[in-house]
Symmetry: C2
Subunit: 436 residues, 2 copies
Amino acid sequence: MRMEEIERKVIGWLDQHSAKAIRLLKRLIGEKSTLGSEFNAQAVVLEKLRQFQMDIDVWEPSLKQLKQHPYFKSDRSDFHESPNIVAKKTGAGGGRSLILNGHIDVVPEGSLKDWTYEPFQAVEENGKIYGRGSTDMKGGNTALLFALEALHACDVKLKGDVLFQSVIDEECGGAGTLSAIMRGYRADGALIPEPTNMKLFIKQQGSMWFRITVKGLAAHGGTRYEGVSAIEKSMHVITAIQELEKVRNARISDPLYDNVPIPVPVNIGTISGGAWPSSVADRVVIEGRCGIAPHEQPEAVKLELENWLKDLEYRDEWFKRHPVKVEWFGAQWLPNDLPDDHPLISVLQSAYQKMKRTAPITEASPWGTDGGLLYHAGDTPVIVFGPGETKTAHQANEYIEVEAMIESAKIIALFVMDWCGVHTDGEDADAKVDKE
Amino acid sequence: MRMEEIERKVIGWLDQHSAKAIRLLKRLIGEKSTLGSEFNAQAVVLEKLRQFQMDIDVWEPSLKQLKQHPYFKSDRSDFHESPNIVAKKTGAGGGRSLILNGHIDVVPEGSLKDWTYEPFQAVEENGKIYGRGSTDMKGGNTALLFALEALHACDVKLKGDVLFQSVIDEECGGAGTLSAIMRGYRADGALIPEPTNMKLFIKQQGSMWFRITVKGLAAHGGTRYEGVSAIEKSMHVITAIQELEKVRNARISDPLYDNVPIPVPVNIGTISGGAWPSSVADRVVIEGRCGIAPHEQPEAVKLELENWLKDLEYRDEWFKRHPVKVEWFGAQWLPNDLPDDHPLISVLQSAYQKMKRTAPITEASPWGTDGGLLYHAGDTPVIVFGPGETKTAHQANEYIEVEAMIESAKIIALFVMDWCGVHTDGEDADAKVDKE
């Protein structure tokens, strides 16, 4: 078969077997895989992978080992019964290798009263499948597995290796992907089907969390002039952060961000301080998320924010003797930056164009993915493309459109074949000639 | 005996029996009388009062009854085993009646690690007695009882009635004093020996608690421009409150406040909002204490603050569709305002002058007392004067100076005699003559 015939056959198979994908997604949603409970969902993945004649590696990440890595930021202390899976299909040779990476963990369902549907029962209605993780990102994972199943069923012989990764812990810092990198898994490129609404996200904003402690001096509210209000002082801190955000964003000239009001936000997410209505607050804690631009190094961004807040003493003398305390805590999502001319983009654009008869939209994402780790810690360039929509991720009544999921599986199948290369009949014939 | 002899006799008795006052204070401190645990301390008071041949009224306040009173603001739901005591010494007639009011409840001891002394063991050291409630206000109560004991021991025949009140619940809103008022106890004047450091507090600032809820619109921190930060909106609210405080205080021209930087503060005591560093906060709650000037009505002050915050929409359009919510919660301390020429002042000044050979300092207090209730709900003018120091109240290592306590008992004894009037021997002789 010539390449076009193979492609037609694969797409045809995917068209005929969409029920398989729907069934798989429903089973995955049915296994609630929040932090620490990933085991059963991974078992469903494993059962599927075993049909594809791949080399399967299943392991529980080692905390001890992870802790030695500078990019390990998770608060997690135990990976017992939280296995990672990597399944490798070794290519015939002569092609580019590819990692297909998806996280199996989902965020908690939140308040049940906000849900119209049971979050873990995968209800299908009007072409959508509802449930926690449907869009973020079991729908994307299903598209990957469905594409692999098509390639297997159609007996497509890839030249480059394909590594399918079902990882844990993306939602709280990426320990699953980091563990896979530390185990040696790397490739010439990677695709992560996070919910991009079928856009190509070629850059991702990273982020990390800060905690700023502002000091005051307690006093009785009736003589509040004898104290110093940490709440009032916090207003200087908030203003300073707002100005830092302006300065940081003014630097960004990438046209990808032309239509984004604040390309790399610094978000003040929480504030809490004071212990009693009738007392002057002697302490306020502000927590937030500092965006990291695709080209930035996290450590440089930390330093910039810390230095910026050192200048608070020029806004208010109080800070000279009582500087704020800055801590970086919790998870960290590394940014990702794919050069405009990287072949991952052109190959995926071409696959998209074949299916959709139009060029895809290319954007920078306002959130990080495990792609930051794959790139910074694993030297693997990453493109993010998937069927879900960001806006339903982490929300009640999260859903995915079945059609988009099937369509993305087709695009991914075409992409895999193009990226890795396919051993066609013609080549087989040539090879046989050579051997004979 | 002529009046001066009687006074000399009473002062002499007090000088000789200071050990009694010390012993009583130590016993009172030893009975931890925090909210709901006032029983044993009241038993000590009762035991003392029984020696003075007074009519004693002991009762547990009725929540049902209290709830009918507009000034009842306590969160307390049960007064079981929290008795109030009023002991009345009926005068011979022809004199002014007087309430001597002190609260028996104390605030919790707080963290033991902040204390050098056991908070409920009444350690005496270098002329001070340490312990929770020593200054606020078992020291003041002891001064009252010690003065009454002297009058009794010296067989002083007062003309006006004296009502000694040992009340519960001052620290959380004044239900004890309110219950005494509702039981019909009133007088021509009242003295409350709260810790004024021997100054005459002729006016008291009242206060009440507000809770302001500021709305925002949640969004992911990476696209924070899609949301509206309740934390940022809170800054407008804080600024508005700061300006309201300025406007309110600019109105105060009473020379008593000449040296007070902010006579009637509006204190923002707590702030909390936002749920996640990476989310835009959709809600912030601000709690604080609004001071009430001595001449003000609480309801008018509430209205002023509420209307002031309605004008937030002129600072930021967001508030037009999302006005802040204002609640008044918890306890309320009414202000108190004694006219400059009220005889309570001159009579107490004169008693002070007799003992100290100098004029007392007259001030307005930055905090409320049960005096606000006695005046507003009980039509009883109130002066506040006591031996403790405000600065040690509610603190670790709270103490009272023994000498100040004894001295205040002397001043109070002189004050009681002058206020109520004393039936002297001369009058007895006259009376006898009349009768004969």
